[in-house]
């Protein structure tokens, strides 16, 4: 699947995008944490830190680690807070 990073997640990963194999959101986050140690500060025991959001295919925002991901999915991981 295709993962795109915006905001602080982009800073922590150091990439704008990445192809990853993962069957669920939880598995994806685990893979990213293993590969990019700085990414772990954006995680809690339950998954994404509340300040971080994940959007699936431009439509739905997802947080549940059990969210099923498919090979052709496109996930955006971004800073959730806006404003200014």
């Amino acid at each position: 699947m295709y993962v795109e990073f915006l905001g602080i997640p982009r800073e922590r990963v150091g990439l704008t995008e990445l192809h990853v194999q993962a069957c669920s959101l939880g598995e994806l986050l685990g893979t990213l944490a293993a590969r990019f140690p700085a990414f772990t500060e954006l995680l809690t025991a339950d998954g994404l830190h509340p300040s971080i959001a994940a959007n699936l295919n431009g439509d739905e925002f997802v947080r549940d680690p059990d969210t099923v991901l498919a090979e052709h999915d496109h996930l955006l991981i971004l800073s959730a807070d806006a404003g200014g």
Binding site: L6, S51, G58, F61, S79, G83
Partner: protein, 580 residues
């Protein structure tokens, strides 16, 4: 008088040259706290709704808060509250830094200014004693220049809130500036100018006691520690300008006067591009541990830029020249005008030119030079600038020919950088906002960027989320704490109640603060009702209704659905079918 307060406000009548201390009861303080809430209560007390916002009778309130001067991070903020000359409705605009601390040390919880000085003046409040000093030498000075010269003249320990040339000329979205920050929205600078004042200068030595200082210090340490964590990392490391690419990616970046939700040249306005080859620096307000200000170099100085300025003077006007946007932002700061209303009004005029409704061929989308020229004309109220200085709603009334349908405003206040058709909980927040369309009074965009709602199809379920963000904002603006802290709380009402208990000694609970927030929102609405508000004002311009966002055909907000959302909002607020 509870700890954390002085128990009075200073009421200054410029017309008769009188200053008096007026007691504030414990009940009023506990019910309205400070900042926006206390300002609203004082406007009601003063009968502000009956006075034209630019008339001598109209009160202008500088409201402090119980947390100002405490060690709680981000608490050095003040609210400027009045009726808005742009909307005719309630207006509260907040700014940060040393003025809040110095103002509260004058020995009052608010300064209320009515009347009009005989001559162009600076109002000096020195440890609670008020006097007028001549300001003719400062006429026409840019905000930072006036502030610097006044401190040289009065003393370095004075803190100054001043207007620029735009406030002197009653531009209806003129700001009040302090230390590079602005009480920005709704035209409070024009209100100060209408009182024949260039500035308010404050200095004081009167500190408030805290009920439980050890507890307060411990709470402050904990809050500061959390303010360094991931919840504020975006503001600290990237600044709000980083929103631009995110919003563009989601198709929610207002572009060319809301004709598009994406801007093909957005990457040219990214923080990375704006600071390419010239590293940006960071700064903080007084008593803040977040440090959200990102200063971009321009010439031999720097420009602080936020997302709202970047979108309003950039994508909204179709401008992709980063230097032009930085120059435009700096010029707005110097003249003392709100960048959102400035950009919104110019973008509206650009569309009028595009449609053949205005004969100003130089004013084209995409031209940074045109934006800069328009800003100069607005600041001087010259030529077309005299029309644009009154905001997009009044300009549309003058231009006519259906242009009000695409004037980007609610209640006269220009819409900030959130595309309402693709962010429909935010659309409701804009529609019902007491001061008009504003992202600082409704944080409903956060709900749209979550799994709680379908952002392209708001339902009645969205309403309670919109109310929750509005209530939270009302409380933060009254305590006062910076909204960039909001992500650090796990129990917002409970934790802020603990802070208030430590400062005041009140046995206040989180549940009480929920009620306080609702009371403050209702007070703002009450002022609007008294000032002539009608149900028809709680809506969006025709552009946003029944027609899809051209760049996102799935983003449609029907008039019927918005009306249902507004009606449900009124019902959940406990207001009648007329929203009262």
């Amino acid at each position: 008088m509870p700890p954390g307060y002085h128990g009075c406000y200073l009421r200054i009548d410029l017309s008769v040259g009188r200053a008096e201390r007026v007691s504030l009861s414990d009940t009023v303080l506990r019910q309205y706290l400070g900042g926006s809430g206390l300002g609203a209560a004082l406007l009601l007390e003063e009968g502000a709704a009956a006075a034209d916002p630019l008339s001598p009778e109209a009160p202008l309130v500088f409201a402090f808060s119980p947390l100002v001067g405490s060690p709680l991070t981000t608490s050095a903020k003040f609210a400027v509250v009045s009726r808005s000359p742009l909307t005719g409705r309630f207006n509260d605009s907040l700014a940060s830094s040393g003025f809040a601390i110095a103002g509260k040390r004058c020995g009052c919880d608010a300064i209320v200014i009515v009347g009009r000085a005989d001559a162009f003046s600076v109002l000096v409040v020195d440890d609670g004693e008020a006097r007028l000093e001549p300001a003719e030498d400062h006429r026409g000075e840019a905000c930072p220049v006036a502030e610097e010269k006044l401190r040289l003249r009065l003393g370095a320990d004075f803190r100054i809130a001043s207007i620029g040339p735009a406030g002197e000329r009653a531009v209806r979205y003129a700001t009040i500036s302090h230390d590079g920050r602005h009480a920005g929205r709704g035209g409070s600078g024009a209100v100060l100018g209408s009182k024949n004042l260039k500035a308010l200068a404050v200095r004081g030595s009167r500190r408030c006691e805290w009920a439980r200082p050890d507890e307060l210090i411990e709470l402050s340490r904990d809050l500061s520690r959390r303010s360094f964590g991931p919840a504020t990392a975006k503001y600290r490391e990237l600044g709000t300008a980083t929103n631009l690419l995110t919003f563009n990616r989601f198709g929610t970046l207002p572009t060319r006067n809301f004709q598009s939700g994406t801007f093909e040249d957005a990457a040219r306005l990214s923080p990375e591009q704006l600071s390419a080859g010239r590293p940006r620096t960071r700064a903080s307000c007084v008593a803040c541990t977040i440090g959200c200000e990102h200063i971009y170099p321009l010439g031999d100085s720097g420009v602080r830029i936020e997302y709202e300025s970047l979108f309003a003077l950039g994508s909204l006007c179709g401008v992709s020249d980063g230097d032009a946007v930085l120059r435009a932002t700096r010029r707005c700061d110097e003249l003392g005008i709100d960048t959102i209303s400035t950009g919104g009004t110019i973008a509206f005029a650009m569309e009028c030119v595009e449609r053949g409704l205005l004969d100003e061929p130089w004013l084209r989308f995409g031209s940074g030079d045109a934006v800069l020229k328009a800003i100069e004309l607005i600041g001087a109220r010259e030529g077309l600038g005299n029309l644009l200085a009154d905001g997009s709603r009044r300009a549309a009334s003058a231009i006519g020919r259906g242009s009000i349908a695409f004037a980007p405003q609610v209640k006269g206040l220009e819409i900030p950088g959130y595309e309402p058709r693709a962010l429909q909980t935010m659309a409701l927040g804009f529609a019902v906002g007491a001061r008009g369309a504003d992202h600082n009074r409704s944080g409903a965009y956060e709900v749209d960027f979550s799994n709680k709602v379908n952002r392209r199809h708001a339902t009645l379920e969205s309403v309670r989320h919109a109310i929750e963000t509005e209530d939270r904002a009302a409380l933060m603006d009254s305590l006062i704490l910076c909204k960039f802290l909001r992500g650090v709380f796990t129990d917002f009402y409970g934790e802020t109640a603990a802070m208030l208990r430590a400062v005041t000694g009140w046995d206040v609970t989180g549940d009480e603060l929920r009620e306080t927030a609702r009371r403050i929102v209702a007070a703002k609405r009450r002022i609007n009702v008294l000032a002539g508000w009608t149900l028809e004002e709680d809506t969006l311009p025709d552009r946003f209704l029944d027609t899809p966002l051209p760049t996102d055909p799935g983003a449609v907000l029907t008039r019927e659905r918005l009306q249902a959302l507004v009606a449900e909002y009124h019902r959940q607020r406990g207001w009648d079918a007329r929203g009262q």
